[in-house]
Amino acid sequence: MRAQFVLSEVWIGLRRNLTMTIALVVVVAISLSLLGTGLLFVKQVDNTRTYWQSRVQLSVYLCSSQAFIQQCKDGQITNSEQQTIQQDLQQLPQVISVTYVSQEQAWRQFQSEFADSPTLVRYTSPSQIPSSFEVKLKNAEADAAPVSQIVDGYAGVAQVVDDSSILDNFYKLLDGARNAVVIIAIFLLVAAILLVANTIRLSAFNRRRETSIMRLVGASNFYVQLPFLAEGMIAGLFGWLVASGLLIAVKSLWLNGLQAYFPYGVVLSSSDLIEVVIIALVTGLLICGSTSFLTLRRYLRV
């Protein structure tokens, strides 16, 4: 095997159809970076989901003296009603813990959360903020509905709110964005495959003299095909390099920037990024290599 000879042939091939090579590198770069962005998105959504899964609770709001709704027509919840609810909740198998938040605590929390809107705080009295039980569930997704149904019927319960239902819309948005990115990436990968095939075909046509002589003097098929295969792979490699740069940028500028809008820290780790970059590398080489190989079988018969 004469590595230097093969490399110089590859270099000649890449330079001869430079425009096709550039187009190929660009398309591979964009499709791989979109695919990678999609994967980063998946990871981000998963991370947020696990973060919330461990924190999502069922909020059981209790009747206050100022709750003018049908469920609270008997006025403020009595102590015995409150105790019954707490005990029954604690006995449910799906429940991990039950925490009581008094009106006093809820008021303070309200004050700090709406510190930006002093008017709202001024016109709200502590007695308007209901006390509640914060119920932590073993499996937030599956257990929320049955538990809230049970507790809804108790006297003194104003309203049961499943926190995860609030998050559902947020997830829908993220999932939709992720799917859109992945679908575009798939379309571009198809374009990349066609471009690889076309580049190799052009290259085979450009080098038909060389290949016909190689076959005539008895070069092995591997030797005849290697320059073309390497051409496709090297173009794929360059595309991947560009894509890696874009992915690092997406992660450090955009996804990390997104964190500023959330009160919790779920930052993707560097190992997540490395994993995605490696997946992009394998995808790129696989697509470029196998397409080159299959194209060659059509255009370089013995």
């Binding site: 004469r2 000879f5 003299r209 002589i213 076959r215 092995s220 030797y223």
Partner: protein, 229 residues
């Protein structure tokens, strides 16, 4: 060296076979002219020897191998033992004389030290001393054909196939080409040359096989081009 046993070759969508029931033997070290009008089957014969085509019927042995049993991935091994020269030279225009010849060795993975040693030797053999750095377009037709012969011979093949090597060259220069082919033949290489050139065939007095409509109509040792005898 080359053995055809009742070989018929019919191309798809063509009524008449290109070769029909051809039986012939070419021994090691022989020099054979293959003559006949265009379309008589000379090129088909050469393509069959190289296994670029497969016979429709019959068996072919080349260099002791049964071509029907030769798997596709072993075809390159066969072709390393056969050198080829064509009417249109088929040199690489962007490589000089030395590089064109070395290319044939590089693509079969020969070590560089070997290439450095043997390429100058064949350049001398074909009479191109001092022209190793010329590009093909700086050479005359006869010189280009010498490069092509050097490339065909550099790997010391057992058989040299020449398809009208003097077809694009004037008669005076052709004599030089034939001398090189003769020199190659004297090293023990079997030479099969397809040609239209009556003067050359008559002057060489070698074995002549004449094809017509795909059939061998004459096989004569020390023959001439026309059917004089």
């Amino acid at each position: 060296m080359i053995h055809f046993d009742n070989v018929t070759k019919t191309y798809p969508n063509q009524g008449r076979p290109a070769l029909e029931n051809v039986n012939l033997d070419v021994e090691k070290g022989e020099f054979v002219f293959l003559v006949g009008p265009s379309g008589s089957g000379k090129s088909t014969f050469l393509r069959l020897v190289l296994k670029e085509e497969r016979p429709s019927e019959g068996r072919i042995h080349v260099a002791g191998r049964d071509l029907a049993r030769l798997t596709n991935w072993k075809v390159p091994q066969l072709r390393r033992r056969i050198g080829c020269v064509f009417q249109d030279f088929r040199l690489l225009p962007n490589k000089n004389v030395y590089q064109n010849i070395a290319f044939a060795l590089e693509v079969i993975g020969k070590p560089r030290r070997f290439i450095r040693k043997v390429v100058p030797e064949v350049i001398d053999l074909v009479g191109l001393e001092g022209k190793r750095d010329r590009m093909p377009d700086e050479l005359s037709g006869g010189e280009q054909q010498r490069v092509a012969m050097a490339r065909a011979f550099v790997n010391r093949p057992m058989i040299l196939l020449a398809d009208e090597p003097t077809g694009n060259i004037d008669p005076a220069t052709s004599i030089g080409i034939m001398k090189v082919l003769d020199r190659i033949n004297r090293t023990g290489t079997t030479v099969v040359m397809a040609t239209h050139d009556a003067a050359i065939v008559d002057s060489m007095r070698k074995r002549v096989i004449e094809l017509e409509y795909g059939k061998v109509v004459r096989d004569q040792s020390r023959g001439v081009y026309g059917q004089a005898y």
